[in-house]
Symmetry: C2
Subunit: 200 residues, 2 copies
């Protein structure tokens, strides 16, 4: 499926078929591709929790506005990020690169993030946004459907997945097969309210 | 070009051909598709500045580590977000939807963002991440190349583009035609460091 079609056909689906399954090898292949998405300085700050356990899914559903898709979608992914990825052996992000690049980039990583908690957090959200779009489009290419979610209690989900103190949740993704056609798109703002030339 | 190929072939390119041009209608078509990416509650909080003016490009380059691509790429896009999109006539985001959905969603938007500046900011970064990935993959489909950038002085670029007080910059994107082959990918972390089952 080409990129344009995947983008045009992707919708945030509401209801998923609980009987539809996606094999582990398919999940692995999809995530391996999606993780080729870019991160700043290649810090790969994203971390993905795939929630398989049915009881855990049910507990998450209870703190996620009781949305059916939390339990019914074939895959439930919690996209998280390590706020300290930048300081955890950053040399490994550039291993194999020419030495002159390593000499520039590794100190640049430290300078960019050290003592800047908001910059670290922004990077978490940005990286997971990039990753989420890749996962949704790859799912579409497989003939599956998806829904990005931030309608849940982030703290409660964090506790349920043992989120480390220096990690944050960015969003969840449901992936599977929808059980009903999407509604027509509504409320799209016109391009001239969203795009500007040179300045606001 | 299919989604997988676009993801596999996309790289953060360094050098762009300054003589390569992309027509306005091509830019419009690309952005129109990319803006079908999802935002939470359909708030469409993203705002895109396309920097065409050569003098302004040069000024941005001076506060962006003097990177060639800022002036050389066919397109320079500054991806921004309106932190207050949620409160600016939110009913329009669901116009045309069945009344029962409007009745639930419009108050839910207010409850989700009101008095929560970090939630508003997280949404800005997340939305722009989603949008950026779509733009880069659509560019790849056209046979173009791209580079996501956050290596610049955000405050200085904000001044140059007249960023409103209630907006933030998320990142910049260069789009055009590369002038050299990409380096091999380096430093990819193994899947088992990034993906976990059920809990950390």
């Amino acid at each position: 499926m080409n990129v344009s079609t995947a983008i045009l056909e992707r919708r945030a689906e509401k209801m998923f078929d609980p009987a539809f399954t996606i094999r582990d090898d398919q999940v692995g292949e999809l995530l391996e591709k999606a993780l080729l998405s870019p991160t700043a300085f290649n810090i790969q700050n994203w971390r993905i929790i795939r929630v398989k356990d049915a009881a855990l899914r049910q507990k998450i559903r209870e703190v996620a506005w009781n949305q059916d898709k939390v339990t019914d979608a074939s895959l439930l992914l919690v996209l998280c990020a390590d706020l300290n990825a930048w300081v955890k052996e950053p040399a490994r992000y550039w291993s194999g690169a020419p030495q002159m690049y390593q000499d520039i980039l590794i100190p640049a990583i430290d300078a960019y993030y050290r003592d800047k908690p908001q910059v670290q957090r922004d990077e978490a959200m940005r990286s997971c946004g990039l990753l989420a779009m890749s996962i949704m489009l790859l799912a579409q290419e497989q003939g599956w459907h998806s829904c990005p979610m931030d309608g849940f209690d982030f703290d409660a989900v964090g506790k349920l997945i043992n989120l480390p103190d220096d990690h944050v949740i960015s969003m969840m993704l449901a992936v599977g097969r929808r059980t009903q056609d999407s509604f027509p798109r509504t409320g799209k703002l016109p391009l001239n309210e969203l795009c500007f030339e040179d300045t606001f």
